[in-house]
């Protein structure tokens, strides 16, 4: 039986995690994400799962990486300051190909900033926060139901590509309440075991834990099953052995890690286009601002203005094809985000690829903790038609 609840986004996330099969959570209290931890502290023991409150966010992400290698789906949740602390181990999860889900309920920053106010100021930290080259996957829900759905999706993507997946949420979605439907069953992508059993391997025929399949992602054996996996944050070969000074070894590994995402970009990326076909102006947004944009676009259409919108579900990898198409067809692109301009740089990068007439790009950035009002967006839209 499916179930209907009237809950906060953060609570919906906790329910999504349970439904997706998450059985381990480690975290540290931080506003405005704490409800995710609080709800999982209640839910996990009822589902044979473990909840740990750690000494800090570095400990939290360390514990979930360990739990992931023990064979569990694992998650943590945090906000900007804690997300900053996690960055080194996020890089570790990338290079060791550890499936994880990390929820970042964004608040105003930098530093302690505005603990209770919404922001989308971490979008570039989600992309580039750890050192070195890597390709993250990030999802940004725009409703409480989507926070549930995207949490399930995040676990599936994490397992499929063996990667930490970030839920880049804003405080508006984290704290507002809406009705959600929890379906009886959700689609689950389970972790892929190696095809061979561990006793088929010996010194002459070693198990290669980091040898990828045809899609670029290796199956994942678990600790305690006799595969004897050496996992290291050092650059390593297919055996998992450190090989940190051979330039070729590093290039091979990191290129494969990036390509397993980039080569599957079209499958990972998700956007929703509305009224774009005849649109002179297309408004691009993600997360809570989508809600204001939809209202603004409806108002504009009522006034007869040819306006469309693109809602981005997956800021990373960036939906290049979809934005390119919009950049080719529209005269104006408006990016609406709760920061002083982050994803707008990606839009500008894509516009740079357009031959011939390039559209104008406008940013409606906003900081301070108030969601854009539909009127603010509508008046910017109208400027493009005057």
């Amino acid at each position: 039986m499916s179930e209907e609840l009237f809950v906060q986004g953060n609570e919906a996330c906790a329910h999504g995690a349970i439904k997706a099969g998450c059985r381990f959570f480690a975290g540290y209290p931080i506003t405005p994400s704490t409800e995710v931890a609080e709800d999982l502290a209640g839910l996990l023991p009822k589902h044979g799962g473990s909840f740990l409150q750690m000494e800090d966010e570095i400990g939290a992400i360390g514990a979930i990486i360990g739990a992931s290698w023990s064979g569990l789906k694992a998650m943590t949740s945090t906000s900007g300051p804690g997300f900053s602390l996690m960055q080194e181990n996020i890089g570790y999860a990338h290079i060791t190909e550890t499936p994880l889900v990390i929820v970042d309920v964004q608040r105003g920053g930098p530093s302690t900033g505005q603990p209770t106010m919404p922001s989308q100021g971490d979008m570039m930290q989600v992309r580039w926060g750890s050192h070195g080259d890597y390709e993250p996957i990030a999802l940004s829900p725009s409703s409480v139901q989507e926070f549930f759905d995207f949490t399930v999706k995040a676990f599936n993507l994490a397992e499929k590509y063996r990667i930490p997946v970030i839920l880049a949420v804003d405080e508006v979605i984290g704290h507002m309440r809406e009705k959600i439907t929890i379906p009886d069953n959700v689609d689950i992508i389970k972790r892929m075991m190696p095809k061979e059993s561990s006793d088929q391997f010996n010194m002459d025929n070693p198990y290669l834990p980091f040898k990828s399949d045809e899609n670029g992602t290796p199956p994942m054996a678990t600790f305690g099953d006799g595969y004897n996996i050496p996992v290291t944050g050092l650059t390593h070969n297919e055996k998992g052995y450190p090989d940190s000074s051979d330039p070729k070894a590093h290039e091979n590994l990191i290129t494969r890690l990036c390509n397993k995402i980039l080569n599957n970009r079209e499958e990972i990326v998700s956007t929703h286009e509305s009224f774009c076909d005849d649109a002179d102006t297309i408004v691009i947004s993600y997360g809570a601002p989508v809600r204001s944009v939809f209202t603004a676009v409806e108002l504009a259409r009522k006034e007869g203005l040819k306006v469309g919108s693109i809602k981005i579900d997956t800021p990373w990898p960036f939906p290049e094809t979809q934005i390119f198409k919009a950049a080719e067809s529209a005269k104006n692109l408006i990016v609406v985000e709760m920061n002083l301009g982050q994803m707008v740089h990606e839009v500008e990068r894509i516009i740079g690829m357009v031959d011939g007439n390039k559209p104008n790009v406008h940013l409606i950035g906003k900081i301070g903790g108030e969601l854009h009002k539909p009127d603010e967006i509508l008046s910017k839209i109208k400027e493009g038609f005057s």
Binding site: R177, E298, L371
Partner: protein, 183 residues
């Protein structure tokens, strides 16, 4: 039709819970699209506290209140803080024992506000014997006066939200509020 409701009071009056119950009643039991939001942080400890509920038959995009159709004020400080952006002709419900009406008389007249009085704190104290259920009495008054949430849905939402063992007192409180004439 989109209806925007704001409930405000001081911290500890159960204002946020009132918003959650209204949202739950509308969304889960009356089947209306609903978004509930609230102010967070130091604001909610002491000082003025508020919650907002947007209700609509169609999908709700912009989730916050732009200009409330209904303002419910349980304290004078909250009333003064949150009255200014009310819609002309909107509905204002106040607890007269908590409020100095003379301060808003001009505003009410000028903006053609429909003013209702619900003595929820006194009712909670005298009829139920529990001051802390004033918020539930107020939910009864909201249901009766505004009709945005039905009697039965609200009752179910209350039963779904209050701690076990407190159901009886809370339903009593709700019915006491629902019985008010609002004048």
């Amino acid at each position: 039709m989109r209806t925007e409701l704001r409930i405000a009071g001081f911290g500890g009056q159960g204002v946020i819970l009132a918003g959650i119950i209204v949202g739950k009643a509308a969304s889960l039991f009356d089947g209306i699209n609903t978004v509930q939001t609230q102010s967070y942080g130091p604001e909610t400890r002491g000082g003025a506290s508020k919650t907002e509920v947007v209700l609509c038959d169609d999908e709700i995009h912009y989730p916050k209140v732009i200009s409330p159709d209904i303002l419910v004020a349980m304290s004078h400080e909250a009333l003064i803080a949150y009255i200014s952006d009310m819609k002309d002709g909107g509905t204002l419900i106040i607890d007269p024992d908590m409020i100095n009406e003379s301060e808003i008389a001009d505003f009410v007249k000028k903006h053609n506000i429909k003013l209702h009085r619900a003595k929820v704190t006194k009712t909670a104290e005298n009829e139920i014997g529990l001051r802390i259920v004033a918020n539930i009495v107020m939910i009864g008054a909201i249901s009766k006066i505004t009709q945005v949430i039905s009697h039965d849905a609200t009752k179910e939402a209350i039963l779904d939200s209050v701690p076990p063992g407190t159901e009886k007192k809370n339903i009593q409180a709700f019915e006491a509020g629902y019985a008010m004439d609002g004048n």
